[in-house]
């Protein structure tokens, strides 16, 4: 048995489990410990079903079903929990019973990406080559260059892929094209690159049609659902910022003549939610194109509505009402502007153009509003 020392203990445990629980699905891994593993993995991972032997060593065979732990992990990263360290080991993985003629799909080592991909592969026999993208999804990693030509070329040689498959074709996710130069990969490795569909759910149709992607499969979308799943992270970021704001309000209350109360809390929180959740959700129906503008408009509607219905214009609350009307729509605009980074269609040139106008306006308006609110709370 060629097992490295660190894994010895696990191997012993495994042997015991194997004897006591031979029928269990996940315990077939030991039959092949005579070959070196190409891709190291944690034997406790439920998504590894076993191992397959190749001329270059053993490769983990993965499940195409997601278990509760996978779903919980996905939910957590959507809320920003453990998001930067949700990753698997780069290397080669197997789905089904692939042989030397089976297709090779390339993807990123963000566990969320990996899960989205493998759940679409049931019934298929294929290889998955996972690049080291530092736990970042394909598109973002391609933009940064970690899902890139060099990493792909290196990973091909590190895993010994040319000796595992007899063909010379790789299927890359289309969004990986931002980082990978197909003709460079072909020149350096002899593997030709075929860009697959944008979304993992189209992989089966793509493979079954002889590597043909429809226009629909090639187009990036940004559906209401796509936008909804991105809003929790925005909200968490804004909540951290808001804790500071509440802290300052609390300090001001210690010596304020007119203290901040529940209505201030509501009007502020509403503006935050407007910028981080409402604006992203109804993005396409808000008039205009610049994100900051859309956020400002929605923030203005909220603040106007709240101050109006609270009767602040009529009851001597005019000063804070104007203060909030200057400060809060700017705040919503700022949060909405930051959603450009989560969107799938904004260009850097466009964002720069938008920001050159929006950022000074936001700063001036917010500063003026805050000054009015301060005057209102400390004046005798």
């Amino acid at each position: 048995m060629k097992i490295v020392s660190a894994k010895k203990m696990q191997a012993v445990v495994k042997e015991v489990m194997k004897m006591s629980n031979r029928e269990s699905c996940c315990c077939s891994a030991d039959s092949c410990c005579s070959t070196k593993p190409i891709t190291p993995y944690d034997k406790n991972d439920e998504w590894v079903k076993g191992e397959i032997i190749t001329p270059k060593g053993s490769v983990p065979v993965i499940s195409t079903n997601l278990c509760f732990k996978d779903l919980l992990g996905a939910w957590k990263v959507r809320w920003g929990i453990n998001r930067m360290n949700y990753r698997i080991n780069p290397g080669l993985y197997a789905v089904g019973k692939p042989d030397h003629t089976s297709p090779v799909l390339v993807s990123a080592n963000y566990k969320l990406t990996f899960d989205v991909l493998r759940k679409e592969l049931s019934g298929l026999d294929c290889w998955i080559l996972i690049l080291d993208t530092k736990g970042i999804n394909v598109w973002c990693a391609a933009g940064k260059g970690t899902f890139g030509t060099d990493e792909l070329v290196n990973r091909i040689s590190k895993t010994g892929l040319p000796e595992i498959v007899s063909h010379r074709k790789l299927v890359l996710p289309q969004l990986g094209a931002t980082g990978v130069s197909a003709h460079e990969v072909a020149r350096q490795t002899g593997f030709s690159v075929v860009y697959g569909p944008v979304r993992a759910k189209d992989i089966k149709a793509f493979l079954n049609s002889g590597f043909k992607a429809t226009e629909e499969m090639r187009t990036v979308k940004f559906t209401t659902w796509n936008r909804l799943v991105l809003t929790p992270v925005e909200l968490v970021t804004a909540a951290k910022f808001s804790l500071v704001v509440f802290g300052v309000m609390f300090l001001i209350n210690l010596f304020a003549v007119r203290a901040f109360g529940i209505r201030d809390f509501i009007v502020y929180s509403g503006a935050v939610i407007t910028g981080t959740v409402i604006t992203p959700l109804i993005l396409p129906v808000i008039p205009g194109r610049a994100f900051a503008w859309k956020g400002w408009l929605m923030g203005l509607l909220w603040t106007l509505g709240f101050t109006w219905f609270s009767g602040w214009f009529a009851t001597g609350f005019l000063l804070p009402a104007i203060g909030y009307l200057l400060a809060l729509p700017s705040l919503s605009a700022y949060f909405a502007m930051n959603f450009t980074g989560s969107s799938t269609y904004t260009s850097l040139s466009g964002v720069l153009k938008e920001m050159k106008i929006a950022v000074p306006l936001i700063a001036v308006s917010a500063a003026a509003g805050i000054i009015l609110l301060l005057i209102n709370s400390i004046r005798a």
Binding site: M84, N85, K134, I136, C140, A142, G143, K144, Q174, L175, A177, T178, G179, V180, S181, A182, H183, Y195, V198, E215, R218, T219, V220, F222, L283, P284, R289, A290, F291, A292, M337, N338, T340, G341, S343, T344, Y345, T346, S347, L348, S349, G350, V351, L352, K353, E354, M355, V359
Partner: protein
């Protein structure tokens, strides 16, 4: 629904005389900005371009230029503060850069 961002801002340029009509650009574009017509690439709707750079990166004839970058306001603000080019580094935690 097609989302549209600001007009007339993209830095995407196609040098038609260099184009060999291989079709890679049309294949990789996530917003279907490019297509092949009579063995040459053409830009159909440049305002849909998000400057991801996939077309230029995969053009074997270097017929496409685009100033690529991340269309992310938070990244731009960070770049103003740090004096660097905007990049997606918000998503890599403390360990890198």
């Amino acid at each position: 629904m097609i989302h549209r961002y600001l007009k007339n801002v993209t830095t995407l340029r196609l040098l038609i005389e260099k184009c060999i009509g291989c079709g890679r650009c049309a294949e990789v574009c996530p917003h279907r900005v490019l297509s092949i017509n009579e063995n040459k690439a053409q830009i159909d709707d440049k305002d849909l371009c998000m400057e991801c750079g996939a077309c230029a990166k995969n053009c074997p004839a270097n017929a496409i230029t685009v100033k690529t970058g991340v269309g992310c306001a938070a990244a731009v603000i960070t770049s103003w503060i740090r004096g660097k080019e905007p990049s997606c580094d918000c998503s890599c935690g403390d360990e890198c850069c």
